[in-house]
């Protein structure tokens, strides 16, 4: 049974790699093939890991991820107009589909998006006519023969260079970028606006959504995430701090302030509290690979929506319902504002999201089984199998369970990524990156 295998496979995870970033990891993203894994951190750096080629003589025929390239994507800047520093923290990285030997990705901080080209150089031309080996120009009198320079192998060098800088289009903090399925355009979203860019054009962008009120004092809702549809290049969605999702069709109008579809689950009046709105705020929205569903993450749950049904989600998964009675404390220490992300597996049969205490959760959509795992060095030795964790919500705490009050709310897993084809996952726990794979039988 395929679906059983998904969860069981993950249950038998092995820890293959813990990479340590110098800074807090702020985004994690596999590329389209899964060969490369990019992380962005608070210091503006991007670290790219590459999967080793499978080799027959290794015990495990799946490759490990090793550092492939590291570069400084963004630097801190100073905005004179507002007398404020612009953080260099990378908010999002999105890969472009590979079209030639080089790899391209978009990285964004609060204000600026950059297109980076990552290319390999493993050959060097030797035997120039006009200059010698050290690059010095030769005396023309000395040149007696004519030869064709030859490409000689050299140690592999991976170079990252910024090809485009898309700046000055966002007044507010960029929270999302998403590459369109036409592979020519992409959107960037901040708290109040969404812009559409062409990858070749940096000096202008089209504003396609603007929810800024004429009077800022009337502001009650902000944009929290946005994504392009994986197949329909005219469709995108954006989520809000009030727990709503709007689907827009760019063919309808130049400014997509009027949505085509409006997704909102009616509120349960029995669970209403002063925190209801805050916990309904959507922190992430992701289309399924099929394009038929989308998933939203709010503070306590993950919801799967059928794009054809606007009035409620088709599936709801509780991530850490035991926190509902602690909302006031979590409001006090600001944890209630944490923005967790979520992701699909390649076949859309499972979803994953993070929680506190370095826990992360996986849900199998078909069997409705779920599992809680922990990403921490203390509990995982390399090649060890991850043990499922359980939070004790009340009553007698069993052995190996952890009580809600012992959870460490400083250890939060906000960013996770799932390999597009295989059961390989990347989990960012503060400044550590964990990569797990299912065990080969």
């Amino acid at each position: 049974n395929d679906h059983e295998v998904t969860l069981r496979g993950i249950n038998n995870c092995l820890l293959f790699l813990s990479g340590y970033a110098a800074d807090i990891i702020s985004t994690v993203e596999f590329n389209y093939s899964g060969e490369l894994l990019a992380t962005g951190d608070k210091g503006g750096r991007v670290v790219i890991f590459q999967r080793e080629q499978e080799s027959k003589n290794r015990l495990l025929s799946r490759g490990e991820y090793n550092v492939y390239s590291t570069f400084q994507s963004h630097e801190p800047e100073f905005d004179y107009l507002k007398s404020l520093e612009i953080e260099e923290k990378i908010n999002k990285i999105r890969w472009l589909p590979q079209q030639n030997a080089a790899h391209f990705l978009l990285s964004a901080n609060d204000k600026t998006i950059k297109l980076w080209k990552i290319s390999e150089r493993d050959k060097r031309a030797e035997g120039y006519n006009l200059k010698d080996e050290d690059g010095r120009l030769q005396d023309q009198f000395r040149i007696t023969t004519l030869r064709v320079p030859v490409l000689m192998p050299m140690d592999l060098m991976v170079e990252a260079s910024p090809r485009r800088i898309f700046a000055n289009a966002h007044t507010y903090h960029i929270n999302s970028i998403s590459v369109n399925s036409d592979y020519e355009t992409y959107l960037s979203a901040d708290d109040l606006r969404i812009n559409l860019w062409h990858l070749e054009i940096t000096d202008r962008s089209f504003n396609i959504v603007d929810i800024k009120p004429a009077n800022m004092e009337e502001l009650t809702e902000v944009i929290t995430a946005a994504e392009c549809h994986p197949h329909q290049c005219n469709v995108f969605v954006y989520s809000s701090s009030k727990g709503t999702i709007r689907l827009c069709d760019m063919r309808a109008a130049a400014l997509c302030d009027r949505h085509s579809k409006f997704f909102e689950e009616p509120e349960d009046p029995s669970s209403r509290s002063f925190f209801s709105e805050i916990i309904s705020s959507i922190s992430d929205v992701k289309f399924s690979h099929s394009g038929r569903y989308m998933m939203t993450r709010d503070y306590l749950s993950v919801k799967v929506w059928d794009l054809n049904m606007e009035n409620r989600p088709v599936e709801t998964y509780q991530v850490h319902e035991y926190l509902r009675s602690k909302l006031c404390s979590l409001y006090e220490n600001d944890c209630i504002f944490d923005k967790f992300e979520c992701c699909w597996n390649g076949s859309d049969s499972a979803i994953m999201t993070g929680s506190y205490n370095n826990f992360f959760r996986m849900f199998d959509r078909n069997t409705r089984r779920d599992i809680t795992l922990e990403a921490s060095r203390e509990n995982s030795k390399p090649r060890a199998i991850l043990k499922p964790r359980k939070v004790c919500t009340g009553g007698k705490r069993k052995k190996d369970e952890i009580s809600v009050d012992s959870l460490d709310f400083n250890k939060k897993i906000l960013h996770t990524a799932w390999h597009p084809k295989e059961n390989v996952i990347a989990v960012a726990a503060t400044n550590n990156l964990y990569i797990f794979q299912d065990k080969m039988n």
């Binding site: 107009l81 289009a169 000096d203 009077n215 004092e217 902000v222 006031c328």
Partner: protein, 288 residues
């Protein structure tokens, strides 16, 4: 988490009160205490929002909405009116109020101490007293928080200067800041108070203690006018099809920089010296 409910004393000579209604009263008072505590916490968070270098807009909006909800409920209860009356009582001496606001200016801790909750209740202050409180803010010069408090307002002054075409080098900036001082019309929005420094005024403006019912909207009227008003006018030019926007010196440098070099205009050490200069200037303005 919540402040503990006060125990209700059973007066001997009074009417007999049934256990049920006593319990009900306890629950109700506990709820309103909790609600008040939540309101206080939210207001402190909002004020801290304004004190941070770059407020997180989503967080600010969510907290402000929470405050609005509480206010609405309290207005329906009628307890809002009681609260306003209590604050307007003549029991507090002006010096107490001044001390209270100084504490608010000084504190930068994310986890507000419970004692600050009681401080909030002092904000029955009139606007003029709030103005005087600024001098206390300026006492701790090294504390960038109190200076950033006013930075938002100053930023708007700069924006106006730019739009009116004044050359924006440092000296001119200082001149315009010093010159404009507190007389300059800060607000571009209607109905906003103009006399008082807005960042402090906003927190207190959220209560806007006037006799009678302050509608929830007017109570929060100043809340976001500082968030990005410096871009307000520039913004209207930038929406829609954005060609290369009107460039300030910052943008010009940015576009001139070679694409592969660092786009930062100043390295971080320079930022810090700029902030120190800013502190110094704030001290001069506020002290005057």
């Amino acid at each position: 988490m919540f402040s503990k409910g006060t125990k209700r004393k059973f007066s001997d000579g009074g009417e007999e009160i049934s256990d049920e209604s006593l319990l009900g009263a306890r629950v109700a008072s506990s709820y309103s205490l909790q609600r008040q505590s939540l309101l206080d916490m939210s207001l402190i968070k909002l004020q801290l929002c304004h004190m941070l270098v770059e407020p997180n807009l989503c967080r600010s909006v969510l907290i402000a909405n929470t405050v609005r909800q509480i206010q609405e409920e309290m207005t329906h209860d009628g307890s809002w009116h009681m609260v306003t009356e209590a604050f307007c009582s003549a029991g507090q001496s002006p010096s107490e109020r001044l001390v209270a606001t100084e504490v608010l200016c000084r504190s930068r801790e994310q986890d507000a101490e419970p004692k600050l909750f009681s401080v909030i209740s002092y904000e029955g202050c009139c606007e003029e007293e709030v103005v005087a409180d600024e001098t206390l803010c300026s006492v701790s010069v090294s504390d960038t928080v109190s200076n950033v408090c006013l930075a938002g307002r100053m930023g708007q002054c700069w924006e106006k200067s730019e739009l009116s075409g004044i050359e924006r080098d440092e000296e001119a900036l200082e001149d315009s800041r010093l010159g404009s001082g507190e007389e300059e019309e800060i607000d571009t929005e209607d109905g906003a108070s103009t006399e008082s420094p807005k960042t402090i005024g906003q927190v207190f403006g959220t209560f806007e203690i006037k006799n009678g019912s302050p509608g929830p909207d007017s109570a929060l009227e100043e809340l976001f006018s500082d968030v990005d008003t410096s871009y307000y006018d520039l913004d209207t030019m930038l929406t829609g099809m954005q060609s290369a926007p009107k460039m300030g010196p910052y943008d010009l440098l940015d576009s001139l920089a070679p694409s592969h070099s660092s786009p930062s205009i100043v390295s971080t050490p320079n930022c810090r010296s700029d902030l120190n200069e800013l502190d110094h200037i704030m001290e001069i303005i506020v002290g005057s």
